[in-house]
Amino acid sequence: MSKVHVSAVVNGDNVDFLADPRESLLDCLRDQLGLTGSKEGCGTGDCGACSVTVDGVLVCSCLMLGVEAEGKTIGTVEGLADVGTLHPLQRKFIEHAALQCGFCTPGILVASKALLDHNPDPTETEVRYWLAGNLCRCTGYDKIVRAVMDAAAELREAV
């Protein structure tokens, strides 16, 4: 199958790649652009390890085709930190030991940022329901929820 030329903005950079029309956005990010921070845990949109934002909307990049990224603005875990400065979510995940194996962490960080971008003061229940699409098998979610709440509090203070 012939490949399709795709232009998009990923983490602030203009990128071009050739996508097989059958490839997911996740495949293109990982295999064409070398952005392997987004992970495939299921390929069916159930685990959230591939979470990215597309024009500001949280999506599972395994459920979107690479060719659909044409003209879109995409955010991945690799774009969360400014050069040398971690996003408060990243810092709080380390401080709270909110990761064990770390495989689900990129998706959970991207999803958590999307939450805090539109709801800076979520309740514990809101955090839990927002992250219900991100599976973590190691932590039991306790420290993840605490880290997100703590990062939210810090971000509110910074405003």
Binding site: G37, G41, L99, C101, C138
Partner: protein, 749 residues
């Protein structure tokens, strides 16, 4: 950095510094199994049996091989013959021989220039099957007339005339069982069942492998144990182990499921056939669920005798487990040994059989065997406590094992902490929380042996006095942090001055995997010994420079110094000073330690769960959850809590949701995460933890190992809570809403 409230004479141990690999893991930089690519790399796809049991009549790969870009196809014919025992099991599971033994069993594999092309090619490989009768359920597999999976499978332990799929029989016990039951006021006997569940790590198995015609190969693979991968792949493919270099990637969860090989030999074989090009193979989620290590399913009888004041006088357990179509894959031996391990009982008898079924080859899953056994025994203990009007926590204390007691599985316990755990549980405020209608509280204890095992660690002093540690146990949950803490504590240097690397198979002697809750215990113990050996060398260097006897130098606060006034007056020589001039004082300084680590200390835990059961739907909600467990010493308490919480939640999933569902055709019906539903954040409350510390005398800092015990109590604790909430006792897992609803309705009549 704040030190925990735990009593501690240590400088660093017991603190909670940032993990050394934290930055890599929050930025997406950490490289896992599927994140590796090599120049000229091919991609592999696997053809899997759609049948639970079928004779393979013919495999025709001609159409696949005719595709441009397809470089190699392998079948069992590409593997060596004549293997026996577990090597044969691993080979047979890697690629089916004459018969496909379960839905998802690999029958062929293909390598091509792209993943999509490999998948297209796999679809063109035609396999002709003759479908055979199959058996899935453990009790069905035990019938005399069950479809025979492999004739003559029973070993010497299996009596003549046993059902044909029985592969192993175990019996052990001690004490006078008859007298024990005679001394009881209440004797109860029940049967319990648990379904197979999957470890459910979020990272699917993945590797990149390269193998030349010279028999030399390399692998990059997500695994709990690179030496196990090396040994198993070498055995299955007829390679020399030392010619295969295995580098572990970061690992996205394992829980026991990444201690053995499933597909890892396939890309090696494909690479060899494709002229030595590297080959990448990444499993899909459904392949992971269909064809990698679930745990066993179990059917269990328990008989207990209890006096009316709660003393357990005798116990008889009889367990049946299937671990797939392969001999020795079920954890029936471990299940029996764990079943009664929390209790000091004068007379115990254990019996068990392993039976084969048309399911994937089971792998270890966190405290293998113990959760099922605990479900059976701890459920019955709870039932009897309620029948006798006794407090279940008091009954557990009354019968609790402690130092000097002969364990149900044979040995005499050294220092253990079950009594301390139960006492800490009793004091916890969660036990005072009021319960409303349809709510119930469940309590259960659990046990895991913990493990030492083959361990090899090296440590090198840098030119600036910083320290590199080479560790052979992959870091699944923060063990780099605990290793760094122990090494820094021993050397008297900063936590940040230590760099722990998880190294490939060429860098150290053989290490067992990160399994058995052994990484922090065994690699930690060896790392401390390696540090002590480097200290001895650094003291020698200082003694030489000062012109005094080695024995007159001691190591303190990261420096060599004269030991006492008679040794002479010299200023301390720091590790940085020693490192800076080691080139001129005798060369590089390193420490090394190899051991088959002894001194293992068992870990006990008790969980208390409050649930609410919706009487309209049968759905169970976890309201509160408490884990109390003995860590020995918590090196990094945050990651100890993480193990407790993660183990508890896996147990919650096992208790409430998770099960392998098979259709009448023997195919797995729920091989995606949507249908094999593991707990999500909105299912759960916070998981409260109490770290009890009864130091293990067999470890320099008292470590026991904490990974596994935590999955054991949730199964019975939740069943006990649901029984209290509904009045209905369920003796088979999972406690899914329809099952609970039916039990409530049956209770009401």
């Amino acid at each position: 950095m704040p030190k925990d409230e735990l009593k501690s004479e240590y400088r660093l141990i017991g603190t909670r510094p940032d993990r050394p690999d934290g930055l890599d893991k929050v930025t997406g930089r950490a490289r896992y199994g599927a994140d590796m690519s090599l120049p000229g790399m091919l991609h592999a796809a696997v053809v899997r049996s759609p049948h639970a049991h079928a004779k393979i009549l013919k495999i025709d790969a001609s159409a696949a091989l005719a595709l441009d870009g397809v470089k190699a196809v392998i079948t069992r014919a590409d593997f060596p013959t004549g293997l026996t025992g577990e090597d044969w099991n691993l080979q047979e599971n890697s690629m089916a021989g004459e018969v496909a033994l379960y839905d998802g069993h690999a029958v062929a594999a293909v390598a091509a220039t792209s993943r999509l092309l490999a998948e297209d090619a796999a679809k063109l490989i035609k396999v002709e099957y003759e479908v055979l009768p199959h058996v899935i359920d453990v009790d069905d597999a035990l019938r005399m007339d069950a479809p025979v999976i492999r004739a003559g499978v029973g070993d010497h332990t299996v009596p003549e005339g046993s059902p044909p799929n029985v592969s192993k029989k175990i019996e052990f016990g001690h004490g006078d069982l008859e007298a024990g039951f005679a001394a009881a006021d209440l004797i109860r006997e029940q049967t319990y069942k648990t379904e197979a569940t999957h470890q459910g790590y979020i990272e699917p198995h993945a590797c990149v492998a390269q193998l030349g015609s010279d028999g030399k190969g390399e692998m990059w693979v997500c695994t709990q144990g690179q030496w196990y991968i090396r040994r198993m792949c070498s055995a299955v493919l007829g390679l020399e182990a030392s010619q295969l270099r295995v580098t572990p990637s970061e690992i996205g969860g394992g829980f026991g499921g990444k201690t053995i090989i499933f597909m890892e030999a396939l890309p090696l074989a494909l690479s060899r056939k494709a002229g030595g090009k590297p080959v990448k193979l990444v499993m899909s989620r459904s392949d992971v669920l269909r064809a990698t290590g679930p745990t066993a399913s179990a059917s269990m009888d328990v008989k207990l005798g209890m006096t009316k004041d709660g003393k357990i006088t005798a116990a008889h357990v009889n367990f049946r487990m299937q671990g797939g179509a392969f001999v020795g894959a079920s954890p029936v031996g471990e299940a029996l040994s764990c079943a009664l391990a929390c209790y000091d009982i004068p007379a115990v008898m254990h019996e068990g059989v392993e039976v084969l079924a048309n399911r994937p080859k089971a792998a270890a899953y966190r405290a293998p065997g113990s959760p099922m056994a605990a479900f059976a025994v701890e459920s019955l203990v709870d039932e009897m406590c309620h029948e006798l009007g006794l407090d279940p926590l008091d009954v557990r204390l009354k019968n609790a094992v402690h130092e000097g007691v002969k364990a149900s599985y044979g040995p005499t316990y050294a220092r253990i902490g079950l009594v301390e755990v139960l006492e800490a549980t009793k004091k916890h405020p969660n036990l005072l929380a009021p319960l409303g209608p349809n709510q119930g509280r469940g309590i259960a204890s659990g046990f895991w042996f913990n493990h030492g095992g083959e361990t090899s660690v090296s440590l090198a002093i840098g030119e600036d006095g910083t320290v590199t540690v080479s560790i052979g146990t992959p870091d699944i949950g923060g063990s780099r942090a605990s290793m760094s803490l122990m090494v820094a504590e021993t050397l008297g240097i900063a936590y940040e001055a230590v760099r722990v690397n998880i190294v490939e198979t060429g860098a150290l002697g053989v290490n067992e995997p990160s399994h058995g809750s052994r990484a922090t215990f065994a690699s930690g113990k060896a790392a401390v010994e390696a540090a002590r050996s480097a200290i001895r060398e650094m003291c020698r260097r200082a003694a030489k420079e000062w012109g005094i006897e080695e024995e007159a130098v001691e190591w303190k606060d990261g420096a060599a110094m004269p030991a006492g006034p008679n040794a002479g007056k010299f200023p301390p020589m720091t590790i940085a000073e020693i490192g800076a001039k080691m080139g001129g004082t005798g060369g590089p300084i390193s420490g090394h330690h190899e051991t088959n680590a002894d001194g293992v200390g068992a870990s006990f835990g008790t969980h208390v769960v409050d649930v609410e059961v919706d009487p309209e739907t049968g759905r169970t909600t976890i309201l509160r959850y408490l884990v109390v467990q003995d860590a020995g010493t918590a090196i990094h308490p945050a990651y100890v809590e993480g193990q407790y919480q993660g183990g508890a939640v896996q147990g919650i999933g096992w208790a409430l949701n998770e099960e392998y569902v098979y259709g009448a055709n023997g195919r797995l019906q729920n091989a995606v995460f949507l249908d094999y539903r593991i707990p999500v954040a909105s299912d759960l409350p916070m998981i409260d933890t109490v770290i009890v510390e009864v130091p293990n005398p067999g470890h320099p800092y008292g470590v026991r190992g904490v990974g596994e015990t935590g999955i054991t109590p949730p199964l019975p604790a939740i069943a006990n809570a649901v029984a209290m909430a509904t009045g209905a006792r369920l003796r088979s897992l999972p406690l899914s809403p329809p099952k609970v609803l039916a039990a409530i309705k049956a209770k009401k009549g």
